[in-house]
């Protein structure tokens, strides 16, 4: 039997096992919406802005490991989605975005709501397609999921002209696809793995540095086993938090610009650096000329282009992080060499000394609410077990520093692109993936307003998520840079005419709670967590002038931190 393109589209999603798609309708995708209406296997979530659809789908993917799916119309629908696509691209999230397109015959004619979606998204996708023949539709969709979820994951855009959704053909969804030009490496070169293991066993001041790759490839368990077996210190990037238990003694905290003193100094002084699923981002390395000056560097990554891009490495291993770690564990078990216990004890002693600086300390006796304190209390109140999304700014760094993630996929933020407005829609995506889990969005009064309209979506679907607004009445991160580097000329970083967030939350049908004193923080958080049937917006009036410490100023080395 022949099906229309729109029917095929929906069947493909069903056969792919997609349960949720996030989207917003419009002319070019109306045939598709009509088919979505006729079935109930795939639940469509109606957002209030296409950017939110892509962020929600992205976070859904990050929280589950399955591809997130978004559907938007042509023209403005597609352009609104671009920020979300770029966000997913920078953080390698498996995302499939379907964009409607004007009918094939009108493409190139400046038709109503026409935009070259393939052209606009090209630099920020792993791949994209324009479907030109309904007979290619099912295979293209299969390819999109395959490309998005394998190798180094990333967003894939499929642009579907409206006429294609009306034309008919036989439906067949391929079980698998293969592309002659796309075969991501899975297994690392075993000789390189052996060489790496030998170097690790000879290390006197080793350091394990891991990133989002460990999370994306579900390799936290292997990483933890490896680190424990060797008793090596571990640091995570912003994207890698949860890859190794944050409360573990061997964890020295996040590294990089706002990483801990002990993590950055251990990086700077190590003799063997084992980088796993991390990409030596500039926020991590600081000045690359001064980066890990004494280390032999081993780098495991599924993307060969990440290796030796910013920092030359000594032992490159291209392969899936999980598979390479398994091979490393096997080689370690086979070897009769053991790490140098004495050297390690000496190294740990040094690290403990750095740790005793307590670089994350803050004024606990202040009579204003410290943002760090809120995150610490949130950690306690949620038993360290919440899914936490965040926006971008100081609050993001406080969340990363003070919420100790013991498990992967619990910390979801925009690390690469740094997209304000990510947090709230991301929390929606996570809550759809895990309806019974506690989901918290840590945000600031600047960021939250970039996608505040999603409070309406949250109401529509009765999502019980919690918003923790660390409201300092400043674009705090901007203010901090202006304080440090622009002699306190606070250009456009003060937020005036803020809404009454409590009333706003209530207007959308949620519970709003205002918290102004440190002694009320814990109680308010507990009260919010008790509410399971509605969303809660907690507006914490926090210290206006608090800064994120420690900090490596741009261009400085990892050993040149500004401490409080």
């Amino acid at each position: 039997m022949e099906l229309t393109g729109a029917e095929i589209f929906v069947r493909c999603l069903q056969d792919e096992g997609v349960e949720h798609i996030f989207g917003y309708p419009g002319g070019a995708v109306l045939h598709i919406y009509d088919e979505l209406y006729k079935q109930d296997k795939v639940q469509h979530v109606l957002v209030r802005h296409e950017q939110a659809a892509t962020h929600a789908a992205d976070a859904y993917a990050r929280a589950t490991g399955r591809a997130g799916v978004a559907l938007v119309t042509s023209g403005p629908g597609a352009t609104n989605a671009v920020t979300g696509i770029a966000t997913a691209y920078m953080d390698s999230a498996p995302l499939v975005v379907f964009t409607g397109q004007v009918p094939t015959a009108l493409i190139g004619n400046d038709a109503f709501q026409e935009v070259d979606s393939v052209g606009i998204t090209r630099p920020c996708v792993k791949h994209n397609f324009l479907v030109k023949d309904v007979r290619d539709l099912a295979t293209t969709i299969k390819k999109a999921f395959y490309i998005a979820t394998t190798g180094r994951p990333g967003p894939v855009v499929v642009d579907i002209p409206k006429d294609i959704t009306a034309e008919k053909t036989e439906y067949h969804y391929p079980e698998t696809v293969s592309l002659r030009s796309y075969n991501p490496t899975v297994k690392g070169n075993i000789r390189q793995v052996r060489r790496a293991v030998e170097i690790m066993l000879g290390a006197r001041r080793p350091m394990i540095y891991t990133g989002g790759g460990v999370i994306l490839d579900d390799a936290a368990e292997e990483l933890t086993t490896l680190a424990r077996m060797l008793d090596f210190p571990v640091t995570n990037t912003l994207m890698g938090l949860g890859g190794f238990p944050g409360t573990d003694r061997q964890f020295v905290g996040m590294l990089g610009m706002h990483g801990t003193y002990e993590a950055n100094l251990a990086m700077h002084n190590c003799d063997v650096l084992i980088a796993i699923g991390a990409r030596f981002d500039d926020r991590v390395t600081g000045n690359v000329e001064k980066f890990c000056p004494t280390a032999t560097i081993i780098h495991v990554d599924v993307d060969p282009a990440s290796i030796s891009k910013n920092v030359k490495v000594d032992v490159p291993i291209v392969g899936r992080v999980k598979v390479v770690l398994q091979d490393m564990l096997r080689e370690l078990a086979k070897s009769d060499r053991r790490p140098d216990v004495e050297a390690l004890a000496e190294w740990w002693k040094q690290i403990e000394e750095w740790r005793s600086m307590e670089c994350l300390k803050y004024d606990r006796d202040a009579d204003v609410i410290k943002p760090q304190f809120v995150v610490e209390k949130l950690f306690e109140v949620t038993g360290g077990d919440a899914f936490v999304t965040s926006d971008v700014g100081q609050h993001q760094m406080f969340a990363a520093q003070f919420y100790k993630f013991d498990r992967p996929r619990r910390w979801i933020n925009s690390g690469g692109l740094g997209t304000m407005g990510f947090g709230l829609p991301a929390a929606m995506g996570v809550q759809f993936a895990h309806p019974d889990e506690t989901v918290v969005c840590i945000t600031g009064e600047g960021s939250i307003q970039m996608n505040i309209q999603e409070l309406s979506t949250i109401r529509q679907y009765g999502l019980p998520l919690k918003v923790v607004n660390l409201n300092n009445r400043y674009l705090g991160m901007v203010r901090q840079w202006q304080e440090f580097f622009y002699q306190g000329r606070y250009a456009m970083s003060y937020m005036e005419s803020l809404p009454d967030f409590v009333k706003l939350a209530e207007a959308y049908g949620h519970v709003g709670i205002q918290v102004e004193k440190p002694e009320d923080v814990e109680g308010a958080l507990r009260e919010a967590m008790e509410i399971r049937d509605r969303a809660v917006f907690l507006n914490f009036l926090t210290d206006q002038t608090e800064n994120v410490y420690p900090m490596i100023p741009a261009g400085a080395g990892q050993n040149e931190m500004i401490l409080i």
Partner: protein, 163 residues
């Protein structure tokens, strides 16, 4: 250093702009770029001439390999190879110059492919530097138009870039 990178590319709309976009987005140099279908109609062969340090060239090769449409890729400059470029050049020639330019064209193994009362159009193939040398040699004779194809390259001997 200058590198000649040959790419077998899926012969699909958009593949070319993906390669060109990669170069502009990442700030890599393109000296020339040529592309045309091969004996296998599903594949195009692109030849890209670029320059950069070894690290940059390594990144270029890796980034190109990441593009889904890139099927296979080879850096011609790594081995012995032959490089050719074609040039069509239109020169204003009158009087004595007609004989002189014809002689020059013969020396460079060029062919005069179009003649008018006042012009010659000469076809010339060779390495880029040979073509440069010809332009130099034409000297003060007025050049009306220069069309160069950009370099193409192939490895010597048994080695071949194919699937």
């Amino acid at each position: 250093m200058r590198h000649i990178i040959s790419i077998l590319l899926e012969n699909e709309a958009g593949a070319l702009s993906r390669v060109a976009g990669l170069f502009s987005a990442r700030g890599y140099n393109i000296e020339s770029l040529t592309v045309a279908p091969t004996d296998d109609p599903s594949l195009s062969r692109m030849t890209l001439v670029t320059s950069g340090t070894d690290d940059v060239i390594e990144q270029i090769v890796k980034q190109l390999n990441k593009l889904i449409e890139v099927v296979k890729l080879g850096d011609m400059t790594e081995g012995v190879h032959i490089e050719r470029e074609m040039m069509l050049i239109k020169i204003r020639v009158v009087g004595d110059q007609r004989e002189e330019i014809k002689r020059l064209s013969d020396i460079f193994r060029g062919r005069i492919i179009d003649v008018s009362q006042t012009t010659y159009t000469i076809e010339l193939t060779g390495t880029g530097s040979k073509l440069d040398a010809f332009i130099e040699a034409v000297g003060s004779t007025p050049i009306l138009e220069v069309v160069r194809s950009g370099a193409i390259g192939i490895q010597r001997g048994e080695k071949a870039l194919r699937l």
